[in-house]
Structure formats: structure tokens, C-alpha cells
Symmetry: C2
Subunit: 237 residues, 2 copies
């Protein structure tokens, strides 16, 4: 199966949470908008085509044969069993999905730290609001989310969120910490010593052979000021 990922070509964004499991599993996939053989894919076609059976609300979306699926956490839920990145039991799958949905909530808050008024306005047009929201985010929300995942990691030996079993939620926690380090280096430097298990997980994911190769490749888009994680020094106090 060759998967087709549709997402913006110039940012990691939500698409990265799908790229990571595809890369970790060594899956055959095309990042359509970035592939020179396919060119810009007309993501808009999918957003407007009235004949689609399951129209997406927004990117990312994934094509797997005839299946078209969107919403990041839903894509992961579909992909993970096919890539061997989640256990078989319903209880385990619901639990990993629950962790992923908590990552999704966290990600929205990381974005809204620099866009509290909405995506339609430039950051420069919501700077005072961003300062207030980012201060709240780094002082209260960041420790709350990190503390939750640290607690989950403390329940079982093995170092992964499911203990000894690696799952896509580990890749997502890796990506959150990577993004937060880019966006809020000072806050993260201060906080990280309190969350040693999460920090260790992050390094361990980064050194998985396929992930290490991916991170060193051109396929990994660098963090930048157009993505979900953005570094504005004035928001990182």
C-alpha cells in the first residue's frame, strides 16, 4: 500500500504527526504537496469536490487506496494498526487514542499562544493578547500537560507511554517536546528537569534508526515561523 499524505508543503504542522509514524514504520508514502513527481496537489480539490464520500474539513488528510480520511488523530487511529504502532486490544487502542487526543488539545494551545484571537490575523496584530496567553500557557498549561504525560510514563517500567510497548503516542509526545523546545526554549529549559521520563522518551525516539535518518534528511522540514510552533522571544519568558 502506497499512502498519500496531503498537507501543506512548507511546515511540519499537524502533518508531522502523520509523517512520523509513516517514517518510523518505513512505510511507502508520498508527501504529495512536496513530491516533484506530483507537484502541488490541489488540496483545494478535496476541500471543494462535492462528489467526495467523506469530505475533509481541513488538511491533513490521507489517501489509502480508495479510503480518504482526515483529522490527525483519526488518521493515526487508522494507520497505526497497519503500521504496527498500536497493540491489538480495543482497550489499548482506546487508551492510545485518548493520549493522542490529549496531544491534540495541547497542540491547539501551543498554537493559540501566538494566535489567541484567531488564525485570520497576523501575529503582529495580536501581540499584546499573545503575551498574556503565552504567559498563562508556559506558567500553567505547559506544566499541566507535561505533568500528565510524566505521570503516565511513571506508571509502568519500559520507558514508553504503554510501558514496554512502543506506540504512535510516543512519536507524538516526541514531536510536542521538539516543537516546544523550538518555540519556548527558555521555558522548556526551566521545566525539563522536572519531567525526566518525558525528556528521556524524547531522546529515545530521536535515536530510533528510521527516525534518526528522517530527522537528518531533507524530508524533515525545519521548524519555522509559519508553523504551529513558533519562536517569538517575547512570548518565552
Amino acid at each position: 500500500m502506497r499512502y498519500e499524505l496531503y498537507y501543506q508543503p512548507s511546515i511540519q504542522g499537524r502533518g508531522e504527526f502523520v509523517r512520523l509514524p509513516l517514517e518510523d514504520a518505513g512505510a511507502d508514502y508520498i508527501d504529495v504537496a512536496r513530491d516533484p513527481n506530483f507537484g502541488r496537489p490541489g488540496i483545494m480539490k478535496f476541500l471543494e469536490d462535492p462528489s467526495l464520500e467523506h469530505p475533509p474539513f481541513a488538511p491533513p488528510f490521507l489517501k489509502a487506496g480508495k479510503v480518504l480520511i482526515s483529522q490527525t488523530a483519526n488518521i493515526l487511529q487508522f494507520l497505526a494498526p497497519r503500521l504496527g504502532l498500536v497493540p491489538k486490544s480495543e482497550a489499548s487502542r482506546l487508551w492510545v487514542h485518548q493520549l493522542q487526543l490529549t496531544v491534540s488539545d495541547w497542540l491547539v494551545e501551543a498554537h493559540d499562544a501566538h494566535h489567541p484571537i484567531g488564525g485570520a490575523f497576523y501575529y503582529e496584530d495580536q501581540k499584546p493578547e499573545s503575551k498574556r496567553r503565552a504567559a498563562h500557557f508556559t506558567a500553567e498549561r505547559l506544566p499541566k500537560f507535561l505533568g500528565y504525560f510524566e505521570r503516565v510514563l511513571g506508571r509502568e517500567r519500559g520507558g514508553w507511554l504503554l510501558g514496554k510497548t512502543f506506540s504512535y503516542s510516543d512519536l507524538s509526545l516526541f514531536q510536542m517536546i521538539a516543537g516546544l523546545r523550538y518555540a519556548f526554549p527558555r521555558a522548556m529549559e526551566r521545566l525539563e528537569p522536572k519531567y525526566p521520563r518525558s525528556v528521556a522518551l524524547q531522546s529515545r525516539v530521536a535515536s530510533r534508526p528510521r527516525i534518526a535518518a528522517y530527522l537528518a534528511s531533507k524530508r524533515r522540514i525545519a521548524f519555522n515561523q509559519h508553523g504551529i510552533f513558533r519562536h517569538y522571544p517575547e512570548l518565552d519568558v
Copy 2:
């Protein structure tokens, strides 16, 4: 199976998206925090108990025998097959879940219209920011979300989001429209004529016998100024 729902007792909030399918299916459930036989349940116990196998990040959560599950969309995904509120095929379930996750995104934006800086501050302490965000929400985001669901309803005859098959996503769309009418009556009055299928779905859900009985009962908490949907006239222009 007697389900136990854990959620704040004084608001509809996210818990309402779980109450509605339980009510529509006539399921045996206890709204623990509101049940005089059980009293305040110590939701905090679940948020702090280090021995829990699958600790929730936040309410709502559901107990079903030994299963403890959280994240609204995840609870629905677990419950719906047991309540007969989703078809059997994987493709249909992923599609309904995709719709539900889009409702989840919409709900966050409805909340953030009155709390753009964060839940830790009173509305009164973020009024100017709320005015900007709510104006953007009613002018752009509300039509975008309504337009999406209207488009989905237009794909197939039958009047439900899956066409002729009723599913939990219909209950969620009902709840969104009900809440938005409470919070933004003027904006909704202006917008609703453009989305006749969604409006018709809303009425049709409201007149389902068990839902009608529920809405008329004391079990349905009234919308109020502590919930996710809040009516501030100055935000509804």
C-alpha cells in the same frame, strides 16, 4: 451494563455530548456528580490516583465496568457501537469519528470566543480580546463550520449526516446548534437560513421521543453562563 458518567454537575459542557447518546439509546447510566444516591464523586480521585491504568487528563470520563475512558470523542467512539449509534464497518466508524473530531474543534472555538486568553482568567478580565475573537468567530468560523456540515448533509438523501442512518454525530450537531443559538442568537438568526439541512436536522433530533423527553426533564441542565456556550450580548453582533 450501567454506565457511570463523571462530569461537572452544573453545566452541559462536554459531558452533554455523552449524555445525549446515552439518553437517545435509553441506556442505563448514572450522571455520578448529580445523583443524590452517589453525591459528589470525587472526580479529583480519578485525576490524581496514581494506581489507575488509564488516567484521564480531564473530565468527562466514563466508567463501563472495569473500563475507564476519557476524551469526549473517544468516549463516543467506545459507546456508539454498544448503543447502536454507529454502523459496523470500519470506514463508517472512522467517518463518524472524523465528523465528531471536527465538532470537537468547533466546540473549542465556541469556548474560546469568550475565553481567548485562557480558562484561568474570568471573562471580565479578557473582554476586549473576546470581542475581537468573537467577531472573527461569528463572521468567519461559524459559517465555515456550518457550511461544512451543510455540505455533508447535502451529499445524501435521508437527512442525517450518514444519509438514512442515524449516528451519534447527528446528536453532536444538534447540540452545537442548540448551544450556538443560546450563545449567539443574533448571529444564528442571520445565518440559519443559509443552512436549512442543518436546521432541519436539529429539529428532527429534538423531536426524537427519548431526546424530547430528556430535553423536557430536569436531567437536561439549562444553558448558563458557566458553560462552554455563554451568552454575552456584546459578543453577538
